[in-house]
Subunit: 423 residues, 4 copies
């Protein structure tokens, strides 16, 4: 197994600021989520705390970007945290103090970056560390359609690779453990994956010598680039931004089905964050609003089952200190987490207009899930189980009890709910 | 007929600097082409002299753009000519002196503009005339993929329309008669025509009260927007940049066929400039190089026939003072120019792997063309003429003689050549 | 104007059996609709009575086809009417007696045909009239995806053209005045218009010497083939099957906008039949069921306005003998019918999320329509009229009264309703 | 590992009649190839002898199909071999005698089938074994665009599955070991993979209890269906028909790169047959003609290296009795065959306009290939090896010698040739 794949031998589990705060999270908010994770979730395998987009934008206040806003940048065209939002970053400290804080909690620290180099650096022709070129020299006139911060970088020039090398060296020096790079896995306007910049990132990370997990966004990543992603990244988004809407959850079954064959230790197709619990604190994306997740409990079970059965990374989007008992039970279900970590095969086995079945296997166990995707209750007899190739006996994970079904008996699954059997 | 359509009752005829000079033409070069046109071509209907892209870019030196180069701009975020390249534009004169010069020759003056507002204006937040907003306020984060000068403009804001109004007011005050707006008729990355900015231009021109022909680029303009173009512009490009290559000329038959039904007085689908005579002086696009056109004489006849039979605008790309006798004969063929001006119907009537026929009609005449698109000589009997619905008698325009064919006789057409009969 | 365009100098108006009967109409049903038209609608310009698909299929009983059903065919591989459904067609009479009946009423007779040659003829290798080839020899292995009756025909073979010639000769001998040919204008699986078979039909009709209007289906016909359709047909469908659903009506505005520039005497882009009054008698397509149209009165006004302002053919789908007073008023509105017949320009002038405006002109009049496409009532002031370029005074066609609006006054338009002003 | 995957634990190796004989191979020709394989290739792992398409078409004489030709069929709508072409198939023996012959040689027997049910069965409404339905009842009006033999089958009906069950039961009874099903993996006109018929085949094979390898054609199979193919088939074509043309071979690098992540024991993405040695005996496809392969020796080495490094099935297309020494050396290169059987990872590691590198690993060895895809000789220094991550020492498989390169030394690779190092 290549070295970088060892950085994520099981699907990464953590928290990310986007679903709650959009582009606007502050240091105190990050810390309180880290504190909570350390105390209540760490023992279940949760470890990454990630600051999402625009920690270098002083006026960021929601998930809406301020077009062409000035950004905080060092003398080498590299973005650094705004010290008003992240006080410990003052005096040129960068994220080092915050990373140290999180490491002390026994957790890992992640940041979001945008592909490219700041447009302001290009228009001002600022230097690239270790080179005689400026940002203007290495910039490409390709831009992100949904955010006005960056230009692309010409990685065919040694100085283009040099920019990425200097950037990752800086972030590694802060103690960053996880990079979520955006505007790179799928670009609608530039025809798919920006492969050259992905490769430049891979090289730049490898040069740091630090174990930094690489996560690529946004999705849907093109399936035909699957082998490419396996060679370069630890996780990549298989979907657009995911929110608490049934249509998006239903849609994920298609994507999970397509990607299931590409998933293996160190390479995890990513179903995106879990919009559970208290979300939308300052984010106005998705259905919008400061709210509890709009997913029903059935839908939350369906989401958790699909994500773990697909071995998606599990990145909680909701505010951790506000977790209620129900949501906590989802994040600490040891059967699910074990499935997420240990299965070695998984795939969809059947689909019609009403139900979808998936099968997974670990060395010890087999798992079968029946998802009711219809809008009414579904009743299935044991005979139908047999016809679908499903086992009649096993352990019902969501009910946490052993079951034994005869051909004449039947089970009921609520609309949008799931039945998950370990055997 | 709407007023703006009256600005171009027949297909415009003129000269444009692109094929010779790319982005780099200078005032003296423009003047010498205007002088020549006035003396030798004006009486045949040629009248527009157009300065193509980047007359505001001091370092422009070919058809390759210098990414992120500083541009010459007035205090209201409007691009103005570089006074080194256009000396008469010094002291804030803009193009007025050059336009005056050209008008005195009995000709009309055109300029190229890029859709949008300069990026440097946006990053510096410079003012928009007559409004309290800045360039940053009205800019959209959408950009041209092949040129780094401009951002798009939000024309849903009154100040966005205001920018275009102030721009056209300035250019009208100079005496501009023709605007070729680029990055607007077809954008590969932004999904077709940028309709809102086209409509803003239409309104801004109408407000000037000046008869300014509006030409939209680049192509291929989407055919499904044909009615939209008819409502807003005088001409629009139906093709990518056209150069002296047979494959491009052959391809134009497809495009002409599709667009022939959308062509009418005031609305002229545009087959692009005529790369005839001496071209590539400083342009390095297309097959490249300072050269005589690479088209054979047969191909030149084919091009001239298709352009005039399609009623395309005729915009000469080659250097006028260097015209030889042959090329002059193409530009001054009165039969062709009359067809271009007077026909009221035109369409393809037949196509197979070897030949294409077109038919056109004016009030006085009928025209039939037989294009040999094969790589060998084509022989056609009178009987084949009849089967194809072609007349046996008439005036052979290219040979300039009356002909009468019997069913047993045959004609020969060289490879890539054309037979054009008026009857 | 080419001769075939004279067959339809104004948009054709008539009745078609599909919306009421699907593939199953019988002779008595056709006659009673013809009788009614002759007595009540003929004086308003309605004249075509068309028998839609599968009059050669004995077991047809709705709009659902019986796959691979045997068809009634003559000895030359040509489909002829089933004599059980059309008793007058017995003894090899074909549709001649029914056509005679309809002609005596002062009306014209139309039939639907499918592109191609019956599959049963191909599998049995039956003869092609006037040739030594069989159906198997001239068949192409291309088929309609939604109907299993026919194979395509190789019109590059003289015998392929010969088949179409013999077919049209037979139908002309019956007195057919209108051919609606299906599976030809747009094929999803064979990449657009089947141009060669369209051209073969054009030639075959021209050879009959009879004035037979040619109508092509299904839609959406590709806009890029507009010039081709103008050269070969009198009308062509710009839409999939149209039914009484608002989403389909709303969608027609897009299509009408695209096609408006391609519409002219003899060439009429076709918005499909009017599902008004009593429909779905045996048809089970669309929203299905034996019913009065589901369109509200507002929507019916909108449809009639768009169809006539676009100069679409007007083909009534509902059962004529069951017409009520309201529906009759729609079909006999002389202002609308005059607009449909006499305008020479028409186009969309504005569109936003709530309203769409169209403008049309005849030699005598100008017409402006405001369509409220929103789901709530729309209020517009005279000032807004001016901003939209709409006239303040004129004749309100739907209210049938003269109006004069000041800038302060306002009008109201119900949801999905229309305001139509002649000035 | 699922049972069916065990049918092909290593990539299948064999011979197929298509490249030599098109649709027209005869029994004696099949036998002589089997004889040769048994004597000269079997010991290297070659074992499948497959009769390609239309063994049921009496008049088949090349790779061109006779549209609508009558086929040999049993009383249950199942195609059976034509006894004139396969004499041992007389008296209703089917392929049993030929399969027996091949089995006695220690080899395995394969046949090609087309998805669906014969059109002649549908038009004659012949029975389906074990059901009360006829071919007409279960047929779907979807057809192959390039062959007129079959209709699709409605596998949602039990009798549709029943047809496939009866078909596979018959073929299993003959002793068939390998089914290549066509018109199923990728259909241009029906939008991708015909999944329901693939699933029906999977079930029908599983019901036979016989180990029958399932191979799906044609390609390019859609990459997004990769997980689906893994669940249902042993091999599937990732390409259109492959022939001895460099452009096709070059193109295979793209496809191999995309599919490399989907390849594993029992599931082999298939680069198609090897057009080596004497081909085109009666096939007229591809570059056509009775010939020795047009590939240069360099290209043949490149093909063999890519196929084995990708773990493609190896299906020889050329006539085995005519093998020369060179071609034999390609098919019996034990290093390559071992790589094909034993590697567990493989992927492209670099690509630019001139060269492509691949890396593969087995438990014992690492493999690195450098493909020169340019049209001129390529020279690479040891320093460049290091920059590309390639080892300097190892065993040069094609030269069959150990090598040790210093940074200053360089190697040369001919145009279209390959350098393959085991380390």
């Amino acid at each position: 197994m290549e070295k970088f794949r060892q950085f994520a031998e099981v699907p990464p589990k953590g928290w990310n600021s986007w679903d709650g705060y959009g582009a606007s999270v502050r240091e105190d908010e990050v810390k309180r989520n880290a504190d909570y994770m350390s105390q209540h979730l760490k023992q279940f395998g949760w470890q990454y705390i990630t600051v999402d987009i625009q920690w270098y934008e002083p006026t960021a206040d929601s998930s809406k970007y301020h077009n062409f806003a000035p950004l905080v940048m060092d003398e080498y065209s590299r973005l650094v945290p705004d010290a008003k939002r992240f006080p410990s970053a003052g005096n040129g400290n960068g994220f080092k103090p915050l990373a140290d804080y999180i490491h002390k909690l026994g957790l890992k620290f992640g940041i979001h970056i945008m592909r490219g180099i700041p447009r302001q650096a290009v228009h001002n022709a600022t230097p690239i560390k270790g080179t005689s070129k400026t940002a203007r020299d290495i910039a490409l006139n390709n831009v992100c359609p949904w955010n006005s911060d960056m230009y692309g970088v010409n990685t065919d020039m040694p100085e283009g690779q040099g920019y990425y090398d200097s950037l990752l060296a800086l972030y590694a020096s802060w103690g960053v453990d996880f990079i979520k790079c955006d505007d790179i896995a799928n670009s609608v306007i530039y025809n798919g994956t920006l492969k050259k910049e992905v490769e430049a990132l891979r090289k730049a990370i490898d040069k740091t010598g630090r174990n930094i997990v690489l996560s690529l966004s946004p999705g849907p990543a093109p399936v035909e680039n699957g082998a490419f992603f396996q060679r370069n990244a630890n996780m990549w988004r298989i979907t657009d931004d995911f929110w608490d809407e049934w249509s998006l959850l239903l849609n994920m079954f298609d994507r999970a089905e397509k990607w299931s064959a590409m998933s293996r230790p160190g390479n995890w197709p990513d179903c995106d964050m879990l919009p559970l619990g208290h979300i939308g604190i300052r984010s106005v994306d998705g259905p919008g609003g400061n709210r509890q997740t709009r997913f029903t409990k059935s839908e939350q079970k369906t989401m958790m089952t699909l994500w773990t059965m697909m071995q998606s990374p599990l990145i909680m989007g909701g505010e951790l200190p506000d977790l209620d008992e129900w949501t906590t039970s989802l994040l600490t279900n040891q059967e699910l987490l074990k499935m997420d970590d240990q299965i070695t095969e998984k795939y969809q086995t059947y689909r019609d207009a009403k139900l979808i079945t998936w099968h997974a296997e670990s060395l010890q166990s087999k798992y079968d899930a029946i998802f009711n995707i219809s809008d009414t209750e579904l009743q299935l007899t044991g005979a139908q189980f047999v016809a679908l190739g499903l086992p009649l006996t096993g352990h019902d994970i969501w009910q946490n009890k052993d079951v034994e079904l005869s051909k004449d008996q039947s089970i009921k699954i609520e609309s949008h709910d799931v039945y998950l059997l370990r055997s």
